[in-house]
């Protein structure tokens, strides 16, 4: 669901095909019948933006029919935890949870806590709470054991709250909201239940079809609830696979290009709450689990970056770090540009004027910069908007009046440099330069290292305190033909101990400054001074977990939280699904994967009073990154828009929410301002639902495909996909032209009439959906209008991602007005 895996991840899809050949049933739920649907055993068409209703009804189906994996749920999830008396559900408040502040348009999550537990430090602080990525791994909980009811009967326990929360998510509701016939919904729900339990497991795959919504993070939460109830986490063949959008997007969140986290999901310091290192460590250390060692992770990071300059006396150069003061995400930054608050901009591996929502606003923002650096394989639209963009064409902008100085620098492709990719399974795979880059093309590593070198040379001799963070950086990678040796960067990321040799893993890291580590979760990737990510032992020479192919974080574990593959006593749930187990004779965990647990902690271990970090978790608590060791059905903290997922309509929707008076996610991020008009202001004009997507033949915003003849010819023009019924209704002709419009703009596209897009019956009336691939811009061998120009900035409040998977539009035959 939320993924078109065969088209967007064709190489990974080979494993789905292998599983299918081995007897797995593949179910695809999507607004369109895609190449993934074509290979699936079952296809379900649903309305774009209605997935939580569908998934929530599966939760209800499980609970109503007692199909949960009871022993797993009681032992390994927070189902039995008692939630505080002050908590009010969306069922009580017609679509709002308790803690809603209508003035601030934000939640105070303090009423979402377990009964009798003190409120977590971040509660009530919106900016800190908004660091969703950081809190997703080790969300805040104060110390102490919550009260529990292992019978799961207490009306205030999570299990009962969950039951009440989803009670109205019935097959009938699915039919009404999603446009999915109830029989088909039941077929899917029953298939999941039947394929889960001791003997069987079910995996879920998703991609940006789930994330790019104003309630996107909660889509994934709903899937997590299903997988926890069915016992599909931490077990072979289970889990939730986030299919990432590019080859190493997983790597770019692990070692982030995001504003709110440091490497290894350490939160970026916040100016209001983390003034000192002690504040930072206190705020970000969990009483239980591996986030109990935040001090070791952050001090080792500071030592990796500032080396000998980082000392105990200067708090390991903590104040050299940048501090955030609020939302500095990509879209906020774009708006800040429009408002003249941003002077310079680096754009790499991205083509925002085509690939980001509200393309026109993106382009207008760039006109307000002093300078911009674009590094790419070809001169993409972002680099040339000032001379050939649509606004230049229309006369709205004049080249001579755009003061932005643009530096376009040619980049090397992945085949032209050494480095690693981190894929969806958290596996790092090393690649070696195959050919030399042509002309002046250079790697990003080359660019940044030399940029740093030149800045440092220019600052040489400066006594200004503000220059110390740059001058004190460790910047000493050995050069190979002028390029910093990429493996030495990986080695720095792995970290070294007091003896200067690489450490074996994150458990070796210390908070006393004796260890250095660039990213604690990657520690071990260069253990024994060997680039572990470059291992290529063929699959047929090892077990099918292939532990000697590449290296997966953390600690080369292939399945996270795999302690859950054994029952509380340490025995596999079944022979068929065994993975790791407790070896009583040896006194340790063993099995086919690297155990994701303290290796010698027996299943009956109980923490002593005052135990900290992993030692505060019992021997039967598998979710070792959670402070209570449990899988969270109910999230007392970590999300800014509610502890449970609720179906909200997309920000732009032709339907009213049948479940609650609250129409859309109340906490969604909105920008009602010039240049970002929403369709809700004249909703009737836009009766159809539009959704964007990718095709196998092109790569995202087109920089890597539209300029290559062998790819460009395969999908040579921007097109829209419509059903024969919509074509008949609007006079659209296959192969002809259509104009698609929203409150932002109108774009044109060739028409592809296909039975693969079906009209759905939603709330008793026919809904048409319009499919829009978003690969085109005005440059390259094949050109076309950019689908993203149609979309507004309406964002998920946790991660600030744009809602481009469901919005409203109109469609008319013919080309757009010029």
């Amino acid at each position: 669901m939320g993924s078109n895996m065969a088209e967007c991840h064709p190489v990974g899809f080979q494993w789905v095909m292998e599983a299918k050949a081995a007897g797995a049933r593949v179910i695809h739920v999507d607004p369109r019948f895609t190449r993934t649907s074509a290979l699936a055993d079952t296809f379900v068409a649903l309305r774009a933006g209605s997935d939580i209703a569908f998934l929530g009804a599966i939760v209800n189906h499980i609970l109503t029919n007692r199909r949960e994996f009871r022993e797993y749920v009681v032992a390994y999830t927070n189902a039995s935890s008692i939630v505080g008396d002050d908590f009010r559900d969306t069922e009580d408040l017609d679509g709002l949870f308790s803690g809603w502040d209508p003035e601030e348009k934000a939640y105070d999550p303090s009423t979402w806590q377990y009964a009798g537990m003190p409120v977590a430090p971040s509660a009530g602080h919106r900016e800190a709470a908004a660091q969703g990525e950081a809190h997703g791994h080790g969300a805040k909980l104060a110390a102490g054991e919550p009260a529990t009811d292992p019978t799961l009967d207490d009306p205030r326990c999570v299990f009962q709250i969950l039951k009440r929360h989803f009670a109205r998510y019935t097959p009938e509701l699915v039919e009404e909201v999603c446009g999915v016939p109830r029989e088909q919904f039941l077929e899917v729900a029953e298939a999941l239940c039947a394929n889960s339990g001791r003997e069987r497991t079910t995996a879920m795959c998703y991609a940006v079809g789930w994330t790019q919504h104003t309630v996107g993070a909660q889509y994934i939460r709903t899937a997590a609830i299903i997988q926890l109830l069915l016992g599909n986490m931490g077990r072979p063949g289970g889990g939730i696979l986030a299919l990432r959008g590019h080859a190493s997007i997983q790597g770019s969140t692990d070692i982030p290009t995001l504003y709110n986290i440091l490497p290894g999901y350490l939160p970026m310091p916040h100016a209001a709450t983390h003034q000192t290192l002690a504040d930072y460590i206190a705020a970000n250390t969990a009483p239980g689990g591996f986030w109990g060692h935040t001090d070791a992770y952050v001090v080792s990071l500071l030592k990796a970056w500032w080396g000998d300059a980082a000392t105990a006396e200067n708090d390991w150069c903590y104040d050299y770090l940048p501090f955030i003061t609020g939302d500095h995400s990509a879209y906020r930054t774009t708006l800040d540009m429009v408002d003249g608050k941003v002077k310079g901009y680096f754009v790499m591996g991205e083509n925002p004027v085509v690939g980001s929502a509200n393309g026109k606003l993106q382009r207008l923002a760039l006109t307000k910069l002093d300078w911009m650096v674009v590094r790419d394989l070809v001169e993409i639209e972002t680099a040339s908007f000032w001379k050939d963009g649509p606004e230049i064409d229309s006369g709205e902008l004049k080249t001579a009046e755009i003061a932005t100085e643009v530096f376009f620098l040619p980049a090397a492709a992945h085949t032209e440099k050494d480095g690693s990719f981190t894929q969806t399974q958290r596996m790092l795979q090393w690649h070696t330069k195959a050919v030399e880059p042509q002309g002046d093309c250079r790697s990003e590593l080359w660019f940044y290292w030399h940029l740093g070198r030149i800045i440092r040379e220019k600052l040489g001799g400066s006594t200004d305190e503000r220059d110390r963070p740059v001058l004190d950086l460790t910047w000493d990678y050995p050069l190979v033909d002028g390029d910093p040796a990429a493996a030495t960067v990986l080695r720095e990321i792995n970290g070294v101990g007091p003896d200067g040799r690489t450490v074996s893993g994150y458990t070796a890291l210390k908070a006393d400054g004796s260890t250095r580590c660039g990213c604690w979760i990657y520690s071990g990737c260069y253990a024994d001074e060997v680039n572990q990510t470059a291992r290529r032992r063929p699959g047929h020479e090892q077990t099918h977990y292939a532990l000697e192919w590449g290296w997966a974080w953390p600690a080369n574990r292939r399945i996270l939280y795999n302690r859950a593959s054994a029952d509380p006593s340490g025995k596999p749930w079944s022979e068929r699904k065994k993975l790791i187990w407790w070896d009583e004779a040896e006194g340790k965990w063993t099995g086919e994967d690297v155990p994701d647990f303290v290796i010698d902690k027996p299943p009956d271990y109980a923490p002593v009073e005052g135990a900290k970090a992993e030692h505060a978790l019992r021997g039967d608590e598998p979710f070792v990154m959670q402070t209570d060791g449990k899988g969270w059905l109910f999230a007392p903290s970590g999300l800014v828009d509610g502890p449970l997922p609720s179906h909200y309509e997309p920000h732009e929707s032709p339907f009213t929410n049948p479940l609650y008076a609250q129409q859309a996610n109340p906490a969604r991020q909105m920008f009602r301002r010039k240049g970002n008009r929403y369709n809700d202001e004249d909703g009737k004009a836009y009766p159809f639902v539009m959704t964007t997507y990718r095709l196998t033949e092109h790569h995202t915003a087109g920089g890597m495909s539209r300029f290559l003849p062998h790819l460009a010819e395969l999908q040579p023009e921007m097109f829209c996909e419509v059903s024969p019924a919509l074509a008949a209704e609007r006079g659209l002709v296959n192969g002809g032209w259509a104009t698609i419009s929203s409150a932002r703009t109108a774009i044109e596209a060739r028409v592809l009439v296909t039975d693969r897009v079906k009209p759905l019956t939603v709330q008793g009336r026919v809904l048409h959906q319009v499919g829009l691939p978003y690969h085109w811009g005005w440059k390259g061998l094949v050109t076309g209008d950019a689908a993203n120009d149609l979309f507004a900035l309406a964002l998920d409040p946790n991660v600030h991602i744009q809602e481009v998977k469901a919005a409203t539009c109109d469609i008319q035959p013919g080309r757009r007005p010029r």
Partner: protein
């Protein structure tokens, strides 16, 4: 049966088994083929024919993925269901290859792998082979006048590498190997599909007794060949030539006889 134009020391016949039941329509085969063989683009035309924009095999497209959208009945939806067939077509490298038989220059030849290849330095662009192909595969490139088609990556085979399309295929829909092994594998796969209830699954070109003596590149299809735009019962176009020549010769003799008789009468 080996063709007289074949190599003196026959080696194992190599070929393709294209299992369309696991094709995901990614077109990696088309791209890899063009990359390796330096085949130019086939034009940037939006064809509004499902996801097919190269249209078919040609001098500039040696692998072509067909996309066929079909209405089907699905239990939960009745007649409202759809299926999407995808199939990567290629030169069949026929046992009886008419293109090769009609080639007057010897540019088309049968390699030591029992594949049919055009030698570009010999082809004179006469075009006899173009109408001879019962599948419409071999085609003249307008820009240079010569004919071009799949070589089954002859250069790669000589270096013990599999053809580029098979190498790039992520789901092993395109399999390369000794033809005997591929046929056995295909029979097993067909059996498994039939057992799973895919009644219309069939092999296409695996039968040595068909009109071209079987294909060196054969297919597992999920419907009739016509559905994919393939001829249901291809026949080597030179099959009837001997009979036609005999008939023509007979007619000529008869004519000569008649003329002689007439002359005799006149005398």
């Amino acid at each position: 049966m080996r063709h007289p134009a074949g190599p003196a020391t026959p080696m194992t016949r190599m070929g393709f088994f294209t299992d369309t039941s696991i094709c995901i329509g990614c077109k990696a085969c088309e791209v890899a083929c063009k990359e390796w063989n330096d085949v130019p683009d086939d034009g940037f035309d939006f064809l509004a024919t499902s996801y097919d924009n190269t249209g078919g095999l040609s001098a500039d497209t040696w692998r072509h993925v067909a996309f066929v959208e079909q209405p089907v009945s699905v239990p939960a939806l009745g007649e409202n269901g759809i299926r999407w067939l995808m199939s990567s077509d290629v030169c069949k490298h026929c046992t009886h290859a008419a293109c090769l038989e009609v080639c007057p220059t010897g540019a088309l030849f049968r390699t030591e792998f029992d594949t049919v290849v055009v030698q570009q330095d010999i082809c004179n662009g006469c075009g006899y082979c173009v109408p001879a192909c019962p599948f419409g595969v071999i085609d003249e490139r307008e820009s240079d006048g010569r004919v071009w088609k799949c070589t089954l990556c002859y250069d790669r085979l000589k270096s013990d590498l599999e053809p580029a399309c098979a190498k790039a295929c992520p789901t092993k829909s395109i399999q390369f190997g000794p033809l005997d092994e591929l046929r056995a594998r295909a029979a097993g796969r067909l059996g498994a599909l039939r057992e799973a209830g895919v009644a219309d699954a069939r092999l296409y070109g695996a039968d040595e007794t068909d009109g071209v003596g079987g294909f060196g590149a054969f297919f597992l299809l999920l419907d009739k060949p016509e559905v994919y735009g393939l001829p249901p019962d291809p026949v080597v176009t030179t099959r009837d030539l001997p009979r036609m020549w005999r008939a023509a010769a007979g007619a000529a003799l008869a004519l000569v006889g008649a003329v002689a008789a007439a002359c005799a009468r006149q005398r």
